[in-house]
Amino acid sequence: MKRPEMKTGLTISALAHAGLLLWGLISFNARPLEARPTDSLPVDIISTKEFSELTKGVKNAPKVEESKQLVEKVAEPRTVDDTSAKISEKREVKTAAAEPPLPEPRPAEAKPEKKPPPKTDPIAETLKKEEAKKRAEERAKAKQQKQQQQKPQPKFDPMQIAALLDKRDPQRQAVTGEAVVPMPSLGTSSGSASKISQSELDAMRARLMQLWNPPAGVQNPQELVVRIRIKLGRDGRLAGPPIVLTSGRGTIFETARDNAIRALFRGQPFNMLSPSTYEAWKEIEITFDPRDMYNG
């Protein structure tokens, strides 16, 4: 039984629902959430190598994207700590190098005296001698004067050298590197990322072991272990005499040591070391151990 009032209620309700649904169809569409960009911490997994590369730079430089080290001159890479000091064009003076005194100007007067005296008339001789002596003296004097005028004698006062070095303090040498970088980035000057790889090291060791012939049949092979520090140049050649760090006694050890040094000389250039990591192998220590050799 449908009453008229129920009909009105039903129609009103149905109309209201239809209207609501229509409104929902129009308005209820999924808006993509407009999430504010979160302050996320970008986490990068980096190796220590990359980290040291990151820190490579100059302490008081503005922050820039890439890590760059200040380089003012193209030369063998060398860094300085205080980049704010003035650049000095003078070469760095080393007190050790200044120690050997420069040769004194040779005394010129000794020369004429050595002349053998001719055996003739004594008076004339003496006259001649005196004259000659005078002339020689004059000549010597003139020579000395000339020499003194030409080359002022440098003074070798260690205190003065120290003072000179002290004066150089606020200055510095130009920062050198592979390429000139006028705009360095923030970081530490010693943040060198170059690292010698194990394969490079192994290749070098293999080459040296091939060349090294230690005395065979030794009772105590551990006594033949030779550790040598070498300085290498950019081209992989020895930049200085190898320094033997281990000491031993006996001809057998000496043979082994000399063999090791010889192997180092014969093995160069060590071009298995890549020049990009030169900083890492600029100065390395190598251990020559006969046990390693026989173990293979």
Binding site: G9, G24, N29
Partner: protein, 237 residues
């Protein structure tokens, strides 16, 4: 082939369209039927609510009008004459029923007063019961929708999430873009259930109290009128 393409290929149904209609249309048929049923329930609930609001307002007004007429000093015979000609409700119906019984007893030749009091009270009780039944009718629908609606919606949601998890398992992809549409459409069922149930519960409570109020008013009037008639009977006897 990038992962997005894989997801698109595995779940052709999930599109970025998340409008209300799309939510309904992409759902499983069980969820769809749940949604439709809940929509119909909601329509019916609101129809009842509107109907009852109108009915209660009308009844209250009619009662006020009748009480005013009843206590205005108008002759009860005249009042009865004006009311009995047309179908009336609530208090007027009570009055008409009692008066009819009264008149019937008086107009008959036998003039039996012995059981008249009881008969009038019985007639009025029956009328009150009928009136209350009229007021209460369909309120049970509201109660049912109010209590069962959330459960029905929840059933739809559970079913939807079940199927969406199945599709996730089939697509072997757990990215939110794959999971979200199925769960959204499933939750839509619960939303409809709640939309239907909340007003149903609120209005059910309101209407039950309203019915109680009107029933008390009717009972009060019935007692008063019974007292008046009882006095009349004692005077005439």
């Amino acid at each position: 082939m990038n992962p997005g393409d894989v997801a698109q290929a595995a779940l052709p149904l999930t599109s970025s369209d998340l409008s209300l209609f799309a939510l309904f249309w992409q759902a499983h048929w069980v969820v769809k039927s749940v949604m439709l049923g809940l929509l119909v329930a909601s329509v019916w609930v609101w129809a009842i609510v509107i109907d009852k609001l109108m009915l209660f307002g009308r009844t209250r007004k009619a009662m006020d009008r009748f009480e005013q007429a009843f206590w205005s000093g108008q002759s009860l015979e005249e009042l009865y004459g004006s009311l009995s000609s047309r179908p009336v409700h609530s208090m007027a119906a009570l009055f008409v029923a009692a008066m009819r019984e009264w008149k019937r007893s008086f107009e008959s030749k036998s003039r039996t007063f012995a059981g008249l009091q009881t008969r009038i009270e019985k007639v009025m009780d029956v009328t009150i019961a009928r009136e209350i039944e009229r007021l209460e009718r369909r309120l049970l629908v509201l109660a049912t929708v109010g209590s069962a609606g959330p459960f029905i919606g929840l059933f739809g949601t559970v079913w939807g999430i079940m199927t969406s998890f199945q599709s996730i398992a089939a697509s072997k992809n757990t990215s939110l873009a794959v999971v979200a549409p199925g769960i959204a459409e499933a939750l839509f069922a619960t939303a409809i259930g709640l939309i239907a149930a909340i007003p149903a519960t609120i209005f059910y409570n309101k209407f039950v109290s309203e019915v109680n109020k009107q029933a008390q008013r009717l009972e009060g009037f019935a007692d008063e009128f019974a007292a008046i008639l009882s006095r009349q009977i004692d005077e005439r006897a």
